[in-house]
Amino acid sequence: MELNAAAILPGVDVRAAPPPPLDLPHAGVPTRGSLEEVEQVQRLRLVSFYSFALGAIGVGWIVAYVGYAALSRGASLSLRITLPATLLGVTGWFAFAQCRRGNLRAATWINVIALITSATINLSTIANAEGIGFITYCVAVSLAAPVIEGREWLWLAALTSVAALLGALLHSFPVVTPLVMPAPLAIGSTLLTATLGLGFPLGLFWLFSRNHHASREEAWALARHAAAANQRATAHARQLERRTEQLQAKNGELNDLLYVVSHDLRAPLINLEGFSRALEDSLGGLKRALAVPGAAPAAWATLEPEIDEALEFILRSVGKMDFLVRGLLELSRIDSRPHLAEPVDLAQQVDDVVASLRHSIDTRGISVRVDPLPSVTGDPVRIHQVFGNLIDNAVKYMRADGEKRIHVGVESRDGTPCFFVRDTGIGIRPEDHGKVFRLFSRVGSHGVAGDGLGLTAVKKIIERQGGKLWLESSLGHGSTFWFTLPADAGTTERTVADDGRTPLN
């Protein structure tokens, strides 16, 4: 049976459902293109409203005029009013229909031309006042042109100038009999018409541009807000991804651990069961022998070694199990206890370790060299454990003959201090490099006392402190265990002895 985390933590199986790859749309700030779309819709809405208004004005005008003529009995209908009013009424609705089809440009031009034409017809028939009316109209439109964005208004100015010329011609050769008004009234009428024709769209455009400006600002603010929110979401998702990865790694670690534990804890259990049964059988035999008078001594003679053997294995298995459970507890303490962050004098730590191993080092005739080591920030007990295990291993797995040397030092690689414990021991096959860090796994264990826990603990401690542990070794060529402590541990060079090294042996 393979144990896995899901069996222990039901419902939590981070392996089963990997998160979908992160793909948020519009992760950046929106482009101006999307804003222009909004502007286009607003402009269309405005022009259709304007067209509608023009159409309504035209229809209203002609209805009012015809009504007035009917009421005043016999008053003749003047083309000066009926023509432009009908024109506006028809083109207004036509432009509105164009707007409904989304034909903004056509609608705008229809309105502009209709306005100019009706104003021209209207103004051209007013005697005495046409000059002032046209000049006012042309000047107003020309002045308005640069204020309002868009090329249409420049065209409008040009068209108005043409209209003024046309009006002057019509005045010289009137189509209908000019209605002579008193000069002040004519001027007022002209001004009113010009103001209506120009002021109405100008007013609308002013309103629109103000709204437009405001909504544009608002849109940008919203866009920035959305982009910021999006960035935050992306950052969160990344964080979540990282955490999931960490959880997956942890889960994998747990799986490996459970596999190892299930295998290794079962081994003594199998002995316990097997030898208990053997003991049971032996005792059964003894019991049967006791029932037969005189048979007991002979039976005891054969059964005694079996019973002794069974008991010995049972006790040994209990001891082994106790040892494994203690090892697991020790390992779990690395995670459960807080790691301190205080200044640690590495040289002092290594000196202590070497001193505690002095006896084995001397009896095996090993020479130990320790380079100057810096001070770091970390957990002194844990760091002591790291050097203790690594140096102890170097001593234990030292080869029997040839040069016997252990070298502890530090090298800078890409600016990171990499600590090492190098030995001239038996070495480890490259294919076994992964195995040496596995719990209870003892790769080259032949004839060497050990618990298969030391390197697992070292790896766990180093990784817990945020560092890395790796190995360079081949069979028969010694081993070098490398590790880093995190960069923010703040390594500082310790003042060292004059000769730059601390000879110990």
Partner: protein, 149 residues
Amino acid sequence: MMDGRPSIKILLVEDDDGHARLIERNLRRVNLINPIDRVVDGQEAIDYLTNGGAFADRQRFGCPKLMLLDINLPRVDGIEVLERIKSDERLRRLPIIMLTSTDNQAEIDRCYAMGASGYVAKPVNIASLGEKLERLGMFLEIVELPELA
């Protein structure tokens, strides 16, 4: 080799002394009298079969006719030993019964796929192991085995 016929020697590869003793005891209890040699890890097993290292004496360490192979072994593990034997032209016909302390189906399938002849989960079930050996014994008698090594 006592009566001129090579006896069917069993090689037990087991690192745990208790397990080895239990297996041996149980095999004796089902009246198995074949000689049993024991080695404690995968490297020794390979050395034994190839008469390498400490097992150079071909007379003493002749090739076994059956191998009981624990999966969880120090140095070279059982799976690797199985793989190496099955990829060796001279050794591939050696029947191998795998021993393991778990009954992981994936592992069982893998061992069979790699050419193991049997699979026994520890605690070693005497009846099961006896039965397997009996079947293999019959098989060994029917099929003339080529001389190994």
